[in-house]
Amino acid sequence: MSPVKTPMLEITNLHASVDGKAILRGIDLVVNAGEVHAIMGPNGSGKSTLAQVLAGHPAYAVTAGSIRYEGKDLLELDPEERAREGVFLAFQYPVAIRGITNAYFLRSALNAVRKHRGQPELDPLEFLDLLAEKLKAIDSDDSLTNRPVNDGFSGGEKKRNEILQMAVLEPKLAILDETDSGLDIDALRTVAGAVDKLRRPDNATVVVTHYQRILNYITPDVVHVLSAGRIVLSGGKELALELEARGYDWVRAEAAV
C-alpha cells in the first residue's frame, strides 16, 4: 500500500470578492506535483482572480473556503512568504520598476528565497553565473539583464522576463496568468517553450488562459473550464481543442442546466 500523497495544491469551496463583489463562488481544485492544469474560461469568469488570490493580492478578499499548499494553509501566508515557499505567479501585466535593473531585482528576489531556504545568499558574480545558466536553460539571451525591470519592454519581452524570473526562482507551483495574451506566434512559441523546459516531476504548473494555443506547447494533464466563478467542466487535453472549436457558450449552457 502506497503512502497517502499530499496534493501540492488543494482548493476547497473557495469564495473570493473584490470591492464587495463576489467573483469566485466555490472553486474546488486539486493539483499534484508533476501535473499541468489549464484553467480556461470566458472573460470575467474569474480566471485571473483565482491566480491573484493564490499569489495573495491584498485587493481580493477570501470570504469562504480554504487553500492548502503542501499541507499548509496558504491563506495564512503573506505574498512574500508564499513566494519563498515556492509559489510563483507570472503576471498578465508585469509591472515596470523604475531604476532597478533586472539583474539587481532578480538577485534580490533570489536571495530572499535562498535565505528562507537556509541557503547562502549569492554575491553579484555568483549570481551572474547562475543567471547565465538559467538564460541558457530557457534559450534566452542577456539583452534584458541590465535594463530596468519591464521598463519600456515590449509585450513579448515582459512575458519572457516573467519566465526568466520563474527559471531563476525555481518555484514548486507556477501559475501563469494569461501568459499568452499579447504575444504573436513566434513570441508565444519562445515563451511557452521556455515554460515547458522548466517542467519537472516535483513541480506543478497552472496555466490560466482564454485560448487553447499556448497548450500546444505546454501539454496539460487536466483542463478546467471556469464560468461565473465556478469550475463547471473538467477533462483531458482534448477539452481545450473542443473549446477552441466550439467556444464557451455551450459550456455555460450545460452548466446552467
Binding site: A55, E80, G99, I100, A109, L110, P148
Partner: protein, 439 residues
Amino acid sequence: MDAVQRYVAQFEAFAGNGAARSPAWLRDLRAAAIARFAALGFPTTRQEEWRFTSVAPLLESPFAPAPAVGRTGPAAAGGASPRLVFVNGRFAAERSSLAGLPAGVRVGNLASKLDGPAGAFVERHLGRAAALADNAFAALNTAFVADGAVVHLTKGTVLAEPLHVIFASAPGGKPTVSHPRVLLVADEQARATLVEHYVAWDDTPYWTNAVTEIVVGDGAAVEVVRVQEESVHAFHVASTVTRQGRDSTLALHPLVLGAALARHDITNVLDGPGADLLLNGLYLLGGRQHADHHTIIDHAQPDCRSHEFMNGVLDAASRGVFNGRIIVRPGAQRTDSKQTNHNLVLSEEARADSQPQLEIYADDVKCTHGATLGPLDPKELFYLQSRGLALAEARALLTYGFGAEILGRLRHQGLRESLDGAVRARLAAGHVAEPAPPR
C-alpha cells in the same frame, strides 16, 4: 535696516577694504552687480518664479561674511583625484592638488587669476551670461566675487580623471555667508568631468550663495556632477548657467541631499546646431527640507537635443518644487526635447509641486514632457512581494529606484558608484513611511 540694505552695507565694507586692490574691470563688475541686486531686492512669494519658495527665513537673521579659517577641519573628500578646495569661499591651497593634470588645462583659484593673460580670460567670461542679470542672488554673488574655481580646457584637451571642486563651509558658531563661484570653459573638442561638491564642517546655520558658469565649445564634451550635501541647517541658493556650441555635449547632474532650504536656478542655452544636453537631477529630502529647482532649456539653434530628467524623493514634511521651462526659438527646427519630473511622496506631510512650461516657436520639433507625483505604487509593491521581498524591502527597493534611475545616467563609472553609496546611505538613514493601503 532691511535685508537688502544689510548686504549693500556689507558690500561697501568689502569694496572699501579687501576688494579695493582688484583690477578695475572686476571692481566695475561688482559695482554694477550690487546696483542690480539693490534694484531687484530679495524675491518674494508674490513673484511667479518664487511662488512656492519663501526666502523669509534667510532674511530674518544677518549672515556675516564667512571668516578665513586656519588649517583645521576634516580632510576633504575627493581622494587622490585632482581637486580645488575652498573653505568659507577661500582657496585652501594646502588641501588642493592639481598634480597629474594635462598641460592643456589651465586651472586655479579665481583670486590668483585676475591679472595678466589669465585675468583677460576671466574678464572675458565672468558674469557674462544674460540669465544672471535677472537673479538677485546671482547679482549678489557677483558683487562679492573674490575667489572660486577657474577651469579652462584649451582646444582638444582631454581630462581623464574627474576634477573635484569642493566648497566647505565652517561658520564656526555664527551665521555666515559665502559666495562660491565656478567658471568652466571648455574650448573646441575638449573633454572633461567636473564634480562640484558643497559640504559642511559644522552645524551652525550658514548660507551658500553660489554661481557656476559653464561654456562648452564646439564639439566639446563636458560632464558636471553637482553634489549639494550642505548641513540640514544651511541655506543653499545657486545659479548654474551654461552655453553650448555646435555639436557639443553637456551632461549636468544636480544631486540634492542637504540644506534646509535650497533653490537652484539652472539655465542652459543650446547655442550651436547639433548640441546635446542631458540635465539629470535628483533631490532626496526629509525632515522639513525644501528644495526648489527652476530650470530653463533654451533651444536657440536647430538640430539640438535636450533630455531633462528630475526625480524627487520626499519624506517627512519635506517639499520639492520643480519648474521646468523649455523654449524652442523660431528657427530651432528639428529640436528633440524631453522632460520628466517624477516625485515619490512618502509621507502625508510631504509635498511636491511640478510645473512644466513649454514655449515652442518652431514647427518641426519633437517635445514631450511628463510629471508624476504620489506614494509608492501598490501594484509595484505587490509585484516585488510576489517575488519574495518583504514589504519593507520592497519599499526600500522602489524608493532606491528613484535615485538609481538618475545615477544610472552618470557617464563616469567611478562617480556613479561612489554616489550610489551616498544615496543608499541617505535612504538607509531616512524613514520610509507607510504607503497607502494596497488596492
